[in-house]
Structures are given as structure tokens and as C-alpha cells.
Symmetry: C2
Subunit: 518 residues, 2 copies
């Protein structure tokens, strides 16, 4: 596998000596892989940020069509990595081939969606026309534009080696917005990241992009991450990861001499609210859906459903029985990294040793290192209300089922839920209408409210919202998935009284794209 250099990509060149760095790791075989990586130095970090800053001068002048071509060329080059990419990523993450092929499809689909969005914007530009004769004062001509913010720092996520890493949603939306990127690759899959970055570099060269428009730094020290957020030229951050790290970096971003927006997605329990009639009717089917969704990616999705809310009753008992049967038969699975496997075991242990929490059932025991064993626990509503720590995410295949004495107690619990990425409500249309108060309360706690579907499988589309009230994300007013994600990396600018020839094309009177004129 001689194409893995272990180096950083800075201003179009692969640089860095892999001394004293770190190795890629195979979590399934529990052994290092033969790929060694440099830990980026302060000088390399500065060079990468500087390259992005210089590239911005040119890249911000690129037309939407030019940016679309870059994104498409990247998608094409990543698609062309084919089996090589899957093979390397499988070894680094223990994720199955089918999942990785699907994730590659999603990653490239995302780049292409953003390219289409650039080519054919459907949301109208906002324009106020002049009224020179207005009394007492004339009204000026004002047209609302959106400028790219500048260089963006992107942090690769452990659980999406493709879709939230080098060419993931944050990078794609930043590049679409007109912002150069410095990616800090996740040390859980550095070879995968390098392969993708090589494809992206080839695409940049193909379309003649500024050389510093995409840069990659490898490394595993927390200091590298912190220094990247501190770097003065960085103007925004895209992050997907743990609450702990996200919290630290977000505070750094806010405390800089020039504070910058930090778009962090920090995780979620994704509550499943099972309404009584539906539960009575479909207990077994609901349990099967829960099992399927919680086991996807061995529970390592940010939208993995980790909390089930229901009112005590016969339906609930049938649900628990069916879910237990399925989980009992569930074999162990390898986690993304030894650290994630360890954290899962610890937080699952903590959950089931909490007062009032019962271990309902566990999956088959682990047989190898870095595996996790699925788990279902339960508690009563008053236990949950008395102990908010039970609402901390257990990252992995774990579900806590909470049974409430009645509607009022359930409502109270929903009102104290911390912010979530998603929640689902399972119920018939009439039952949801009757329980509209519960549904609305839940909506105010989440970024996406789902009826009768599971939360895993985030659709990359125009209306998607992926994010939610704190602590699900650090910035509830933006999304990290879908076409709206591009807006995060722009800011509004009003052009007042500008001659037509100086206006950007989409704001001029000759524009062929949609305009809303007032």
C-alpha cells in the first residue's frame, strides 16, 4: 500500500516526516497497521492555515459554476478510489464493506447535491428596489448578498470515516460557500483520510483550483486541535465528535480575541416516544424497528436511538419481551477504536449500576478485543426525573427504556430533556392529534421530529436539519447535513446603490436566477 505517505497536505504538497508520530490501528485484529503518520507541528499548522488564507483571496472570486465543477471533480475522484478505499477503511474502522460503500455514495452524493445547489439556486435573492421619490426620504436600492467567511477548520469524526471527514459534509459545504478548508484528520482512520485527500488534490489540479483550497493535517494531540481553532486566520469551525472535546474547542472559539462561530455536533439520545394505542397494537414491530436502528453501525451513529419513552401497560411489556429476545441473540461487534469500546463498557456499566435502573438483557458476550455487547436497561419515570445523569449518551448499542405512570409524568420528563438531534413519535394520526401537546413539547427539544420512522439514516436533502438545541449541537441555528449547511459558512452583505455592472450576477437586473423584489 505504497500510496500512504503518512504526510500532511499543505498548499498542494505532501509534507512532513513521520518521526515520532502515530500508527494507524486495526480495531478488529487489535493490532497496528503498517501505516505511520506525522503529528503536525506548529509550523505545519501555520503553513496549512496560511495556505488556506492565501487561497481565499483567489477562491472567493470563483463563480458558483467553478465551485460546482470542483465539487463534482472531487466526487468523481473519490468514486474512482473504489475498492481500494473500502479495503483501507474497513481495516481502520472495522465497519462492514457494504456500509462503507454506502457511505462513499453518500459522501459523493453530497458533493454533487451542493454542486447542483450552486448551479441552480432556487431560493430567491432578496432585493429592495430604490424609490427615489419617496417622502420624506428617498429609498435606496439595497440587495442582499452572502459572502464566504474565510478559511474553515474541519474536524474529521471517528464514526464517519468518509461522510464526516476529509470530504465530508463540513468540507463540502465550506467549499461550496467559497471557503478554503483545513481538515484535521481523525486519528482513527488516517490512511482512509489520506486516500480521500489524494483524490481531492487530483480534482483540485484538474479544475485548476488554488492550491491551498483544501489542506489536511494529521495528528493525535489535543494541542493540535486547540491550536487550529485558535489560529487567527481561521474564521469558522465544523466539528462532529464528543461532548467533552466539542465543549473545550467551542469555548476556545468563543474566547479568541476575534470570536468565531463553532458549528459542533456533539451527540444525542434520540428519544423514541411510543404512544399507548400504537404500542398496544404494534408492540413487537416497534421492538424490531428499535433493534434494527440501535444496532446499525454497532450503535455508533449520532442518531442512534438510545432512549425509549412509554406509559406503563401491557403493550410495553410485550415490547420489552420482544426487544429482549432480539438483543439476547445479538452477537458482539467491534467498535471503531479501543477507546470507544472502553468508553462504551464503562458508561454502560455506570448506567446499569445506577439506582433504580434494571438490566433487562444483554447481547452475546464479547469474544475479542474492542468489541461491545448490546444492552437494554429499563427504569421508571420517577427514577429518570430524579437522576438527570441517566440522560447522558452511552455511545454504542445501548437502549434505556423508561416507563411512566401516566401522561403528566411523561410530559414532565420531556420538558426536562436536554437538547437532542432527533426524536421519533410512534402513533396513528388520530393518536398524535390527541397527544399534540406531547409532540410539540418534544419538537421544542430536537432538531428533527420524526413520525413513525427510526432516526438512523439521515437524508441528505434540502429540508434536512441535523443539529439541535444545546448540548446536541453548539449552534442550534444551523445544520451540518443538507443543502442548508452551506449557509453556515457565509455571512450577509447588503450592497447599497451599486451600479449594475458592479453587482454580482445573481443580484443584477439581468440575473436568470430567482429574485424576490420589494
Amino acid at each position: 500500500m505504497n500510496q500512504i505517505s503518512g504526510q500532511h497536505l499543505i498548499n498542494g504538497l505532501w509534507v512532513g516526516e513521520p518521526n515520532g508520530g502515530f500508527s494507524s490501528f486495526d480495531p478488529e485484529r487489535n493490532e497496528p497497521l503498517p501505516w505511520h503518520f506525522c503529528d503536525a507541528s506548529t509550523g505545519e499548522l501555520e503553513a496549512a492555515v496560511n495556505a488556506a488564507d492565501c487561497a481565499f483571496m483567489e477562491y472567493r472570486l470563483w463563480s458558483a459554476e467553478q465551485r460546482a465543477q470542483l465539487l463534482e471533480a472531487m466526487a468523481e475522484a473519490i468514486d474512482a478510489l473504489g475498492e481500494t478505499l473500502t479495503r483501507v477503511a474497513t481495516r481502520e474502522t472495522a465497519l462492514p464493506e457494504a456500509r462503507l460503500n454506502g457511505e462513499r455514495g453518500r459522501t459523493c452524493g453530497q458533493l454533487r447535491l451542493f454542486a447542483r445547489q450552486l448551479r441552480e439556486p432556487k431560493q430567491p435573492a432578496i432585493i429592495d428596489l430604490a424609490q427615489p421619490d419617496r417622502h420624506p426620504l428617498p429609498k435606496p436600492d439595497i440587495r442582499l448578498d452572502h459572502l464566504p467567511l474565510g478559511p474553515v477548520a474541519v474536524f474529521g469524526a471517528s464514526n464517519f470515516p468518509l461522510a464526516f471527514s476529509a470530504a465530508g459534509g463540513d468540507t463540502a459545504s465550506a467549499l461550496a460557500a467559497g471557503c478554503p478548508v483545513v481538515v484535521k484528520g481523525h486519528p482513527a482512520h488516517p490512511a482512509t483520510t489520506e486516500l480521500v485527500a489524494r483524490a481531492m488534490l487530483a480534482a483540485m489540479e484538474k479544475v485548476g483550483a488554488p492550491r491551498g483550497v483544501f489542506n489536511l493535517l494529521q495528528g493525535q494531540s489535543p494541542r493540535l486541535s486547540q491550536d487550529l481553532v485558535r489560529a487567527p486566520a481561521i474564521q469558522a469551525v465544523g466539528f462532529t465528535g464528543s461532548f467533552k472535546v466539542g465543549q473545550v474547542l467551542s469555548q476556545i472559539a468563543a474566547g479568541r480575541p476575534q470570536p468565531i462561530p463553532f458549528f459542533g455536533e456533539l451527540g444525542s439520545l434520540n428519544p423514541q416516544l411510543l404512544l399507548p394505542e400504537k404500542l398496544e397494537q404494534d408492540a413487537e414491530a416497534l421492538a424490531e424497528q428499535q433493534h434494527g436502528s440501535m444496532m446499525m453501525g454497532q450503535g455508533q451513529f449520532c442518531t442512534s436511538p438510545g432512549l425509549v419513552l412509554m406509559i406503563t401497560g401491557a403493550g410495553g411489556e410485550r415490547y420489552l419481551t420482544r426487544l429482549s429476545n432480539l438483543i439476547e441473540q445479538q452477537g458482539p461487534g467491534t467498535m471503531l477504536t479501543p477507546g470507544i469500546a472502553r468508553a462504551y463498557a464503562e458508561s454502560a456499566d455506570q448506567l446499569i449500576s445506577s439506582e433504580g435502573v434494571t438490566l433487562v438483557t444483554q447481547g452475546q458476550p464479547c469474544t475479542q478485543a474492542n468489541q461491545s455487547r448490546a444492552l437494554v436497561a429499563s427504569c421508571r419515570g420517577d427514577t429518570l426525573l430524579a437522576n438527570p445523569d441517566l440522560l447522558e449518551e452511552v455511545f454504542g448499542p445501548c437502549t434505556l427504556v423508561v416507563t411512566f405512570d401516566g401522561r403528566e409524568q411523561l410530559l414532565q420528563a420531556i420538558r426536562t430533556l436536554p437538547g437532542q438531534l432527533t426524536a421519533s413519535v410512534h402513533g396513528s394520526e388520530p393518536e398524535m392529534q390527541d397527544e399534540r401537546t406531547l409532540v410539540m413539547e418534544l419538537a421544542y427539544r430536537v432538531g428533527r421530529l420524526i413520525a413513525n420512522q427510526m432516526p438512523t439514516g439521515v437524508e441528505v436533502c434540502h429540508a434536512m436539519q441535523h443539529g439541535g438545541p444545546w448540548p446536541a449541537s453548539t449552534h442550534s441555528q444551523s445544520t451540518s447535513v443538507g443543502a442548508e449547511a452551506i449557509k453556515r459558512f457565509t455571512r450577509p452583505l447588503a450592497w447599497q446603490n451599486l451600479p449594475q455592472s458592479l453587482l454580482p450576477q445573481h443580484l443584477s437586473d439581468r440575473s436568470t436566477t430567482p429574485q424576490l423584489r420589494y
Copy 2:
């Protein structure tokens, strides 16, 4: 003036004993006014925030039409205050009647604009339609909504007793978004604020609004402001004021256990770039425009033009001569508060005693307390480049004219400008085309780029952007003026697979408002 109680408005009631509080002050006569105000206690602060939080439960269910009626009723009630309001505000601020009547018109116009925006939304809702037969996976139905954030803290500004205070842009946009408000009135015009709040309460009662939807706290202690930003139920902050205070409060907002967005507008120098040919041609007219704009409101506008950039030449000399002549004849004017008058005198002194800065001319000397004397200073481009402190705002009627040796030096200075609310470029269309690089560089430093007009007089319309890169505002991605300001106080929510009967009207298939369907 027995209608001034000096109390706080909390949950629809006037409460608080005016013991140990503060008095309203007449800056023109330099004496206290006969109106005494309570300093809000911790208990009163908590009661106001709690009232807003309780009101949110009901107010968030209000339709756009209901909110529009509330805003219109408020506009009507404030209009009806008529001469009484002007008389009180004039005494508290020393602003002329015509200005205050204009500001009342703007304030009410803003409330009515937001009401129209709610009634007839023109920007389309974003909808992804389901594709149940899509392979390999079906596509769900996803519709993008925007929910109000919750209770908003609003800080009244010293320099806009009406348009950025109790019923100002922050309050109007928060109420339009569906968020209750707790206003901390500015101690420079507490009686004015109380009068407006009385009108707002009458409007709330008229339309049957929840009693805690608008609350007013009076006070002058920094602790009250800080505690308001810290209050757990507060979900966002609207602020217009000084860099120093904005910086402190913004850090508190970011450091809360749950960080919240802080929308602060902190001021600006509003550079005026005079292109050489235009300057040569119209030197005198440009100087007259500068004089008119810098003297508006005695220089106490956030968009007051305090910096002029030009290339050395004969036009520049004529410009300075004409500006000097006008300023020499300029009488002194009373500032909004003794503190603002003192700060102006100090920062103006500091500016003209800086190395390399020349005092060009001053207006007529002050004859009374709390007045300010207009001032024009100048320096060379290299002086400015060597001393970034010269780019700190002098809040008041002061202009620094900087002459550059040539285009390259000017470009360099623009690249080092801190973020600004606005900048103007004065030049013919062909000259601006030739200097497109300068224009674009300037655009990247500002929130509004103006051609051949002065920055004062911010149009309240749909395409307006009032805000800019830090430190002009703490949140460059939002505006505090114009219809787009409403969005600050909402966050996106995606509804997935919801039955039609549970969708909000504007997202349902029966909607009559615009939708963009993918």
C-alpha cells in the same frame, strides 16, 4: 408627569419600590429630572424571566396573524403617545424633536413591517417530498420549519431611545419570531422607556397577549445586565452598545452552562473611500456630504462616518479645506449623557495627541456642560498602518482623514481594517470598475457596502444588513435591522413523515404561502 411610576413591568404588572434607585437626567440642563426609578433586584429579575418563560408556553402557539396583530397594536399605541413621548424623550436625551418624531415613525414602521412579513411571507418554505419507491432506500418526506428560541433579553441602547429600546428592532423581531422579551431599559432614558412600555402593555391587553410576553426591568448596575444574560431561561440576547460592555456580556453568554447566541452590535468607524477621479471632480460636494452625515445626531449614530480614506492629491486638499470651513462654523451640541460627552472628549484628545496625527480643525467651543465640539484630524497612510489604535471608534462628531501615498498602501490599510458595519465608496461607475479590487476588499470588511451615499439613515427593509464582521458585531451572520432580523430568534426544525393534519399550516399541502418543493 404623574404617569411615570419608576417601576418595572413584570408579568403585566408595574412593581418595585423606587428606594435607592436612580433618577432620570437632563443632559442639556445638566440636572436630574423629577422621575425616580427602581434598580431591579435579583428577585425582580427572576420574576421577569420567569414571566417570559411561562408566557412562551402560550405565545409559541400563537399564529403569525395573532403576532402581527400584537405588533400592529403596539405600533398604534406608541403612535398615540404623540407629543408626550417626544417631550419626555427630548428632556432625557437632548435630541431634537424632529429627530425623535422621525425615530418614533421608524419604530412603529418597523413593527408594522414585521407584521406584514408575518402575514404575507414571500420567502418560500423548503420541502422535500417523499419518494417511497426510491432505490436502494426510500426517501422520507421532510419539511423545514423554524421555531422560536424562547425568552430573549434585550438591552436598550443609549443613542436610540425608541428604535433600539423597549419597542426597538430587537424586541420587534423577537416578538415577531414568537419569543417573549425581557428588556433591560437604558438608564439614559428610563421615563421614555416606561412610556413606551405602558403603550405596549395596553396593546398586549387589547389583543389578549400572554401577560409575560413583554417585561421591562429598569436599573443601572452592571450586575443586573450580567445576571440577565446568565438567567437560565433566557435563550438569546439582543444588544446595541459599546464594545466594552458588549464584549463582557458576549463572553458571559458564551460561557453559560448552556451557551446562547449573543447578537451584539458594537459600533463602527464606517470608512468613506474617496476614489481619486471622483475626489478631483467633486471634492467640495463630498466634503459637504461628510459634514452633514458626521454631524447627524451629533455624531452619535452607529453608522456615523468617522474615517475618510483617500490618495494624496489636489482633490484631497480641496476636500479638507471645505470640510474645515464647515466644521469651524459648527456650533457645539449636547451629547446623550454626561458619560458619553466625557468619553468623547477623552478619546478625541487621545486621537489628536497620537504621534503623526494632525488636528485639522475644530468646531465652536463648548459653552455648556455635556456638549461636544466637532473635530477633523488627519494623518498619513503610514501613520495609520503603524498604529492600529487609530482605528478605534471615537463616538461623536469626529472624522479622521487619512491620505495614502498610492493605491498599494491604501489596499494594505483596507486589508487591516477591523470589521465595520458599513463603508462607502465614492466614485463614478467606470472608476469603481477600475478599482474593483479595492471595492471588493472593502466589502469583505463590512456588513453594508454603499456606493456614492452616506451611511447614516439605515433603511428598515427586507434586504438590509446591519451588522458586520467582528468587532462591528458579535455575530456577523445576522442583522439587527430589517425583516431578516426575525430569523435571529428562530432555529430550524425538520418535520419528517408527519401526517398533514399535524404539520403547521405553512408547510402543509394546503398552504397558500410560497413553498419550494424538491
